[in-house]
């Protein structure tokens, strides 16, 4: 069953409430209209466009060294492409890397592990193997996961992921 969809403003308000100043991004059609284009105009954030997602992993990780909070905003394919950087900076060097990744073409209401697309089905198992928490953001109210996830990532100095489960 799929509930009422989560909305862009609800997500952005929770990101801002989490103390995030910097959004680092490679565009993702899953979140482009509802999140990334509004972020361009949103004075609460500074947008840093990167060419490839692993650049963003590094940028977000080192910003924590300067006591700054950043969120990497990408598609799940970019997450898969960034596993080595995430493994190094996040898991082995224990730096907080907060990632919001769109699960492009996941069927609403279907758990990611049961999606038709292989790439989506393997996301959560890979994160679990790396001991990286993940939360699915799909229905109205799911935005409640954002702030605790980000606060925990910085408190524990370890990555976290928020997976957008439907096109917005």
């Amino acid at each position: 069953m799929s509930g009422e969809p989560i909305t862009g403003p609800a997500i952005l308000d929770q990101i801002a409430a989490s103390g995030i100043d910097y959004i680092v991004s490679v565009p993702d059609i899953t979140t482009s209209a509802a999140l990334l284009w509004p972020i361009v105009e949103d004075k609460r954030f500074r947008l840093i466009r990167v060419c490839k997602e692993d650049e963003g992993v590094s940028i977000c990780a080192v910003m924590s060294m300067a006591e700054k909070r950043a969120l990497l905003f990408i598609q799940y394919t970019g997450l898969l492409d960034s596993i080595n950087a995430l493994r190094s900076a996040g898991c082995e060097y224990k730096m907080p890397v907060c990632i919001m990744a769109g699960l492009l073409a996941k069927e609403p209401g279907v758990p990611p592990k049961q999606a038709k697309m292989l790439g989506i089905r393997i996301v959560e198992p890979i994160l679990e193997a790396m001991l990286i928490p993940h939360a699915l953001m799909e229905d109205a109210g799911d935005e409640r996961h954002i702030r605790p996830a980000i606060d925990t990532a910085y408190a524990n100095s370890y990555p976290t992921t928020l997976l957008i489960g439907r096109q917005m």
């Binding site: 910097y22 840093i48 990167v50 692993d54 080192v62 060097y93």
Partner: protein, 192 residues
């Protein structure tokens, strides 16, 4: 006397000019820099994921615009993350100086040649990407003459250092990979 620039001699000159700049060295440059400036707490050793040094430097430059950030990149490393040139140029960090230690080989992985070692022009790439200024330096005399100016110049500046490895630097992996080293960097960065 050979005019070939040795990395260790080059870094010794650099170290004489470093005060409160953040240094971001990668792999063999990290080992070399650690041997030459072991007490420079504002060193962020960028290792563990090849190619990421310049991205780490950019993150630090954006987060701390009051600090000058000097990245000691490698040519094999940069080839793994060429998009970083465009990302950096687009962000225009005035406090970022990007040195590329261009020895033409994967020194830490058997000294195999990098692809295109005989024709690739990294400074031209950085210039085309949009760095404010680029240069290529191939002698110690030239490096010594320019280093003070480079450290003071608004960035982003990219300088390819055509050099060779000197005597193998000691390999202090425990220090460079260690959590205490990153904690010391963070403490130094946020002091005062």
């Amino acid at each position: 006397m050979s005019k070939t620039m040795r990395r260790d001699l080059c870094f010794k000159i650099l170290a004489k000019h470093i005060r409160d700049q953040i240094i971001v060295p990668v792999y063999q440059s990290a080992q070399e820099w650690h041997g030459i400036a072991p007490d420079h707490a504002l060193t962020y050793y960028s290792i563990g994921a090849m190619g990421q040094a310049s991205s780490c430097a950019l993150g630090l430059a954006i987060a701390r615009p009051d600090k000058r950030v000097v990245v000691l990149d490698g040519d094999g490393s940069l080839l793994m993350n060429l998009g970083t040139l465009v990302t950096i140029a687009n962000q225009k960090p005035a406090n970022l100086l990007h040195f590329l230690c261009q020895n033409g080989e994967y020194e830490a992985n058997g000294s195999h040649p990098i692809p295109g070692r005989d024709q690739v022009d990294f400074a031209a790439m950085a210039r085309a990407a949009g760095y404010r200024r680029t240069d290529t330096i191939a002698t110690l005399d030239d490096f010594e003459a320019k280093i003070a100016g480079l450290l003071a110049e608004p960035g982003p500046v990219f300088v390819a250092l055509k050099l060779v490895a000197g005597p193998p630097p000691s390999q202090d992996y425990a220090f460079i990979h260690g959590a205490p080293t990153r904690a010391a960097f963070k403490a130094a960065l946020n002091k005062g």
